[in-house]
């Protein structure tokens, strides 16, 4: 997790560049195969509806979380995660245009805290929110 050398030190309040995201049914199937989580609410519309998901299948929470982690880490240079916490506030469905956003909450000598969210691109409350804490890369720390 060494990451890029020479990445700039993050600043409190700094926004991460928004990133578009659309999860496809193929993404869900691929994640199910990788993780072993073949829960049919992620793969079968009929079963999903039986469990009250009227619009059919929903994405694995962990798949969304993984995409969020990738998003944060790709913008945080050499930082490596020490914790990542997310809340799944509403289901994420395949085929819906989403946007990931984030901002730096705090930075001290060695760590950075980033808040991140996934919401529909059309607007509305975030479906997933999270707090990512990382140890700054060697070039980002204050000695």
């Amino acid at each position: 997790m060494s990451g890029a050398q020479g990445s700039p030190r993050p600043e409190p309040g700094q926004s991460l560049p928004p990133q578009a995201l659309i999860l496809t049914r193929e993404d869900l199937r691929r994640y199910a195969d990788a993780s072993g989580d073949h829960n049919p609410i992620h793969l079968d519309d009929d079963v999903a509806r039986q469990f009250g998901l009227e619009d059919g299948v929903i994405a694995h929470g962990m798949l969304v979380m993984g995409r969020m982690a990738t998003y944060v880490q790709s913008t945080m240079g050499g930082s490596s995660p020490t914790s990542f916490r997310v809340r799944f506030r509403s289901p994420v469905r395949p085929g819906i245009p989403l946007v990931m956003t984030g901002h730096v909450v705090s930075v001290d000598a060695e760590t950075v805290v980033v808040q991140v969210a996934v919401a529909a691109r059309a607007g509305g409350a975030p479906a997933v929110t999270g707090t990512w804490t990382g140890r700054l890369g060697s070039s980002q720390r204050v000695e």
Binding site: M1, A34, D37, N39, G66, P81, T82, F88
Partner: protein
Amino acid sequence: MTAQNFQWDPERVGERSRPILHEVSAEVVAAFRAAVDPASVADPSPSTLAVRLQTLDVPGLTLPPAGVIHASQEFLFPAGRALKVGERVRVVGWLDSVRQRARLAIVVVVNQMTAAPRDRGDLDDRPDDTVLLVETRTTVMVTVPDGVIP
């Protein structure tokens, strides 16, 4: 990889599961990478990705039954180092708490992944001398069926 879950028995809160031994395979890392970080597939070096991919679905982490609501998820990485392909890890999990609110049960499941310290060989060499690589805390909400007395 996550298929080895333990039973969700509210009578067994705090009881640790049998340890699951797991070897970090290049194939699984590649599969997670394709799912979670597709843009990186062109990158030939998977090693730096291992901690954020492999541990996002820890073996032993519960596969909640269909119908439960995955409410929140936490990952802690206390060792501050990545997993390596080929490294062997041990995972233990337990139901940490079960709280009842009306017809909703809030269940918290914890899993811990340990490995041998980098400079001390494999898990089998000194099974009691390990480092905690990852701790996960999964919170789900389960609707209690009619007729079941909480």
